[in-house]
Amino acid sequence: MTDVVELRGVSQDFGAGPVVADLDLAVGAGEMLSLLGPSGCGKSTTLRMIAGYLRPTGGRVFIRGRDATTVAPRRRNIGMVFQSYALFPHLSVAENVAFGLRMRKIGKPERTRRVGEALELVGLGELADRRPGQLSGGQQQRVALARAVVIEPDVLLLDEPLSNLDARLRVQLRGELARVQRETGLTAVLVTHDQEEALAVSDRIVVLHEGRIAQQGRPAELFEHPRSRFVAQFLGYENVLELPGRGPVAIRPEHVRVEPAAGAPAPAPVSFDGIVRELTYRGTHTTATVTVTLPGGPVALQGIVSGASGTGAAALSPGHAARVVLSEPAIVSLLDEPRRPVLEENPV
């Protein structure tokens, strides 16, 4: 299987330090790859370099094995979906979808057929004559998807396509996104800051941190075995601590039990005694933040108050002692020394 997109040592520097630093990345045919990270991690910049809107300041970009580093976007065969939809407001839905085919000088009969197929694919066949302004956000983004897919691009580039939608629609549309990608067999690169979105739709996730790859892997692999503090915390491992004799570990709040302090120390599980800082009622359960003192210093740990939400929480109150019990199998060991090369070159 050849790689559809390959970045070799790609860098981008706008003049204030590298935004993307010496990045190597390969996207296989038919793969759905997510670039995941917080804002400013270089994920959008990377996508724009694949699309050709930005020329890398270092390294080379290959598309289907050809060096495309200096090729203009319009000469690359890419299908891009923008966060703002970017539909042409003066054209109808069908004309929007037909735009790329028109530029490729595809004759009218074939054009009409392919536009129809693309709109059917995203379930908007009956809205072909509407204007984008008459559609909802979700419908607009589906038109944008059809417009990108219809040209049969080498790679489908999705730049935070769901960020402008509300939560429920986002979940619905991401399922649709994954289905369209699967049905068309297109290679896709998705940029997102939403870990749940990335986990749900990707074949592979690349977590970016300060312009470098922090970790990559299949969603389950990544989620179950984050290696660094950064990746762990980004994936929702709120608790990162130094366990005596085990080095840095991470654990999710749902695997931490907070219970009223008992007289005798508990033997088997990993547990600590500390002081409750905060209790938060969450409907199905109550979470607590407890400060415990470890050899390395005090650490705030988040966990779920044990017992029925009423009884357990009633026995606890801020400022009072509590016991924190970590579920042994859920403890993830992190690498001893998290890599922070960019941070050192570029102290903030």
Binding site: A51, G52, Y53, A72, P73, R74, R75, R76, I78, G79, M80, F82, Q83, S84, A86, L87, F88, P89, H90, F99, G100, M103, R104, R131, P132, G133, Q134, R147, I151
Partner: protein, 265 residues
């Protein structure tokens, strides 16, 4: 409303009267049957409208005004729209400086500008008055083209152009097929504003006219210096009607464009 806010209503009424009364006087005088400018008029007739429409200096200068307004508007847009596009989308070096230069005709007193162009075109280069007027007005209108279309461009999503380029459109296709239709309401507003500004301009036209080539406002100014008949009021009324007609048309067109472009059902 009157009952609820008496002071505010009274103020509104006074302001309206203050604004509309002079216009009312002009229209009233224009309808006069007598030979003197007087309000209230002596009787009612359309006599002076007929006189005005057959008075050569007015009809000739109306033609000149129209030619100058249309030509200058076309030139100002042809230069201003691409320039604005470059300034907003390509962010060249010295962007702020260039923007200031393009807007400077708004700041420099028109008489000064007119005099400079008079020296340059009519005295030095020996241009005829019509050419000088067209070029002078083009300079005057440039800020409108730059500013109004610039505002439209700033509101337009730059991703639209990126999307067009990504789909295979070249720079010209992108500009004419995507950018221009999107900023069309702004360009239309700039066109109408430019036409009206040129048509109503006096200070610059005053310096760039000759014995034979005059714009309508200059001809009117010259007329009132020697004559004192209701004909001037009749011309003023006609000019007023024309301006109102253009404004209404503009409202319709731009309003229509907006409905056309991004309506919500």
């Amino acid at each position: 409303m009157i009952r609820r806010r008496p002071v505010l209503s009274l103020l509104t009424l006074v302001t309206l009267v203050f604004l509309l009364f002079p216009i009312l006087v002009v229209v009233g005088v224009a309808l006069s049957r007598g030979d003197v400018l007087r309000f209230p008029p002596d009787g009612v007739s359309l006599r002076w409208f007929g006189e005005a429409l057959s008075y050569r200096p007015f009809t000739d200068s109306l033609g000149t005004s129209a030619v100058v307004a249309v030509s200058a508007t076309v030139i100002a847009l042809a230069v201003g729209v691409p320039a604005t596009y470059a300034l907003h989308r390509r962010s060249p070096r010295g962007r702020r400086f260039l923007l200031t230069v393009f807007l400077s005709p708004l700041i420099v007193p028109e008489l000064v500008l007119g005099f400079a162009l008079f020296q340059l075109f009519l005295v030095r280069a020996g241009f005829d008055a019509l050419t000088a007027l067209i070029i002078g007005h083009s300079v005057l209108l440039l800020p409108y083209a730059v500013r109004v279309t610039g505002a439209s461009l700033e509101r337009a999503d730059p991703a639209l152009e990126a999307a067009a380029a990504g789909l295979g459109a070249g720079p010209l296709r992108t500009f004419f097929g995507v950018t221009l239709p999107v900023i069309a309401p702004g360009v239309l507003s700039a066109t109408i504003l430019s036409l009206l500004t040129s048509f109503n301009n006096v200070p610059m036209s005053l310096l760039l006219t000759s014995r034979t080539v005059q714009t309508l406002p200059v001809a009117m100014l010259e007329y009132v210096q020697t004559s004192f008949t209701p004909m001037i009021a009749a011309v003023s009324t006609l000019l007023l009607l024309l301006t109102v007609a253009v404004a209404v048309l503009a409202e319709r067109l731009v309003g229509f464009q907006q409905v056309f472009g991004r309506s919500a059902p």
